[in-house]
């Protein structure tokens, strides 16, 4: 399967995290939320302007902006 990022997911679709290209604080923050390699993520809902998007991560719903979601590679 080709490498995609989180923004490719449509509402309702899920995927597994392959790696994080993000750097610095945001990377740490995402990891603290449990977003590490192998974590299942579901795209839950886009906001009225399509950005940010709410994702289901380990039972919690987390909104992430497009720029940051682009760094999260999925399979």
């Amino acid at each position: 399967m080709s490498k995609n990022n989180l923004t490719c997911l449509q509402e309702g679709e899920s995927a597994r995290v392959v790696s994080l290209l993000n750097t610095g604080t945001i990377k740490r923050r995402l990891q603290d939320l449990g977003l590490v390699e192998g974590t299942q993520v579901q795209c839950i809902q886009k906001s009225p302007w399509g950005d940010p998007v709410a994702y289901g991560i380990r039972g919690a719903v987390i909104a992430i902006r497009t720029e940051d979601a682009q760094g999260i590679l999925i399979n």
């Binding site: 740490r28 990891q31 399509g50 950005d51 940010p52 709410a54 289901g56 039972g59 992430i64 940051d68």
Partner: protein
């Protein structure tokens, strides 16, 4: 932060840690009987609150730490929480968790357990979990973690006694915890083993050597310095420690484990460890909802059931409240509903209060004339102090006592983070942070509180923007003034249902204007003096919770009443006194007040107001509540003495002093857009630590207010000329 322990009275220090929005403050309030504000959104607790809980003869000093996802100190709150657990001398740390999202929460539990074995895990929100058919096997998790685990529902107080029993047992040593260790990658384990040993010999149990070894490898210099201050000696100055650190780094380097990889690996191992701990210990009563989860692999254990029956109700609500087509319209509609209920609902109580309070004023007047006291005594006490108090209470109290319960209901329900979610794109365009929406919501209550709330924004640049622009949200003290002016000048003649509907729309318009200005000014600041790009941001959308309607209404009416009465006594009454004196000491042929207003008059006219209005705003600096009473007193000192027990009579007074609809609009605009009150200014100074930013926070809204009023007034003049 350390506190002295007094062994005679058996005092224990208990730290309350936990993820944001898991009900930490609710646990804190339930145990201490204090009233820390709680709300269903992350990041609400911004400083360490302290309270005492008495349990079986001992005192437990509870310290409510800010909510954090981790203790890796990526933000100020995490640093505060970590430092307290590490250096604060806590006898036991309670980690409050959300039963509906336990796996993620255990991440923090494991991190705390790495620092201290004295941990009680409080699995809160068991009632919510039950509603969602989530069954948590607490005993199994306790066995797995090796520290006491207690299920609670803090809102109803369930399980808290049980929890204190465990806390007591940990504090007096009856329970010996055996915390589960996080196992790291083999290479890392091998690398830190010698370092751990070296530290063990020097720390004598004062800090956890395993945990500290990892931090030393992570090269956090500021933290190492802090540890040195705590220990009273510099670890890294020790030759043997230094060598061990170098050896460990070398060993890692050989395996190609860079600093970045080391950090990644540590976090991943903790996350997987948390996953393991819940594996098999959480189940769902109805498995029917598991459909969307095949291939997830951890179905039996983890709670990634976002598609499950449990979360589906939340997703249905979200489809309406935060979706593309309905999100924004519903947000505006909700604002209007809240405003409409506030305006309609406060009409009658306002009138009753006014009737009552002014009846009392008449009796007071009778009393003073019966006493035969001089006029000035009656003037100061009744016409000065009492009348301003009566105005503030009758006009300010009802809208606040209605607005806040409604607002709190939305907050408890979990709507506020959704507002931030809906609006974040606009904030991003302004190169600011979506969480600014939350601080603006707090600004409705009090701008000073909103400014403190800006601490939830991590980026210093974005935080400053939020602080400087918070004043564009009309607060507690301005809100009723806006309502009063709108009802007097724009809707008074319509009557009936249309009246309150039109008031609502106008007030919503004023508020939306404030919000648009916030975007514009944020954008402007981002392009000029606070240049920068929007930083990354994550926002948790908490599960919807059914608000405890009765409790919220009683609580917030009570709180608001106290708040308004408190302000009335501490600010309005003294102001009333001073202003009455100014209004009644005449120099030449005019009172001091009139001298001042006459001086301001030419400038104020340019802004569509008059000297009295502008003077009222200036003298209203200590509190926006007193702006209208000052106007009344200034106008009244001109001569005619009249009763002012209704808005109708007030309007007559204003009109007889030359007010037109255009004056009303200018006053509305200036009320929305002018300098922050004194309390807010002091808070800004405290929060930013800089006079420059405080001055700017005063200058920007003032300059915009003057410009807007001037443009509006000029436009009206030009139109007038054209029509004539």
């Amino acid at each position: 932060m350390g506190m002295d322990k007094n062994s005679e009275t058996e005092e224990f220090i208990i730290a309350l840690a936990g993820n944001p929005n898991v009900g930490k403050s609710t646990v804190f309030n339930a145990l201490t009987g204090m009233n820390q504000h709680t709300g269903n959104w992350p990041g609400k607790t911004v400083s360490n609150a302290q309270g005492i809980h008495h349990y079986r003869g001992n005192d437990y000093i509870l310290v409510d730490l800010p909510g954090t996802y981790s203790l890796m100190a990526h933000s100020a709150e995490e640093e505060i929480a970590r430092d307290f657990i590490l250096f604060g001398g806590a006898d036991t740390t309670i980690v409050v968790c959300d039963a509906t999202c336990l796996e993620r929460n255990l991440n923090l539990v494991l991190q705390v357990m790495e620092i201290t074995p004295q941990v009680v895990v409080c699995v809160n929100l068991m009632d919510e979990a039950k509603k969602k058919n989530i069954v948590v096997d607490l005993e199994a998790i306790e066995k797995d973690l090796g520290v006491p685990v207690v299920g609670t529902s803090a809102r109803s107080g369930k399980g808290l006694k049980e929890m204190m029993k465990k806390v007591e047992a940990l504090c007096n040593g009856t329970i010996k915890p055996d915390p589960r260790k996080v196992h790291y990658q083999q290479t890392i384990e091998e690398a830190i083993a010698p370092l751990e040993q070296a530290l063990d010999d020097r720390l004598h149990g004062r800090l956890n050597s395993r945990w500290l070894s990892l931090r030393l490898l992570e090269r956090d210099d500021a933290f190492i310095a802090k540890t040195g201050r705590y220990l009273g000696f510099d670890l890294m100055a020790d030759k043997e420690v230094q060598d061990a650190v170098h050896a460990a780094r070398k060993a890692l380097g050989k395996q190609n484990i860079t600093l970045e990889k080391l950090k990644d690996s540590i976090v991943s191992c903790i996350v997987f460890s948390a996953e393991e701990a819940v594996m098999g210990n959480i189940s769902f009563q109805r498995n029917a909802g598991c459909a969307g989860c095949e291939g997830c692999g951890c179905c039996a254990g983890c709670s990634i059931h976002t598609d499950g029956a449990a979360a589906s109700r939340d997703r249905k609500i979200d489809k309406i409240l935060i979706s593309k087509y309905t999100g924004i319209p519903i947000m505006i509609a909700l604002l209007c509903v809240v405003l409409w209920l506030t305006i309609t609902g406060s009409n009658y109580p306002s009138q009753w209060l006014a009737d009552g309070l002014f009846w009392v004023q008449d009796r007071l007047t009778d009393f003073f004339s019966w006493l035969g006291s001089p006029d000035w005594v009656h003037g100061i006490l009744v016409l000065g102090i009492y009348r301003v108090l009566a105005w503030v209470v009758s006009v300010m109290l009802p809208p606040m006592a209605i607005f806040f319960p409604l607002f709190t209901l939305l907050e408890d329900f979990g709507y506020l983070p959704r507002v931030a979610f809906n609006l974040d794109h606009q904030y991003k365009k302004a190169k600011a942070c979506g969480k600014q929406a939350l601080t603006m919501c707090m600004g409705f209550g009090c701008n000073s509180v909103g400014v403190i709330g800006c601490r939830i924004i991590d980026s210093p640049r974005e935080r400053l923007i939020a602080i400087i622009t918070n004043n564009f949200v009309p607060c507690n003290g301005r809100f009723p003034t806006l309502i009063a002016i709108i009802s007097m000048f724009f809707v008074g003649t319509l009557g009936g249902a249309y009246e309150s509907l039109l008031s609502t729309l106008m007030l919503a318009g004023v508020i939306i204007l404030g919000i648009l200005l916030t975007f514009a000014v944020s954008r402007f600041l981002s392009e000029t003096i606070l240049k920068g790009e929007p930083s990354s941001f994550t926002l948790e959308l908490p599960p919807y919770r059914t608000p405890q309607i009765g409790k919220v209404i009683v609580r917030s009416i009570f709180d608001r009443t106290l708040f308004v009465l408190g302000r009335a006594v501490t600010v309005a009454a003294p102001a009333g006194l001073i202003i009455w004196i100014l209004a009644n000491i005449t120099v030449g042929d005019m009172s001091l007040l009139n001298h001042c207003s006459a001086f301001l008059d030419p400038f104020a006219r340019l802004l569509g107001m008059d000297g009295v209005i502008l003077l009222a705003f200036i003298l209203g600096f200590p509190a926006n509540e007193i702006v209208v009473p000052i106007m009344i007193m200034a106008y009244l000192s001109g001569g005619s003495i009249m009763e002012l027990s209704s808005l109708g009579e007030l309007k007559t007074l204003l009109v007889s002093n030359g007010w037109t609809w255009a004056t009303a609009v200018s006053t509305l605009l200036f009320c929305l857009i002018h300098w922050p009150c004194s309390t807010t200014c002091l808070t800004i100074k405290k929060e930013t630590g800089s006079l420059k930013w405080t001055a700017l926070s005063v200058f920007i809204p003032t300059a915009i207010g003057i410009t807007v009023c001037f443009l509006f007034t000029s436009a009206v003049h030009i139109l007038d000329q054209l029509i004539l």
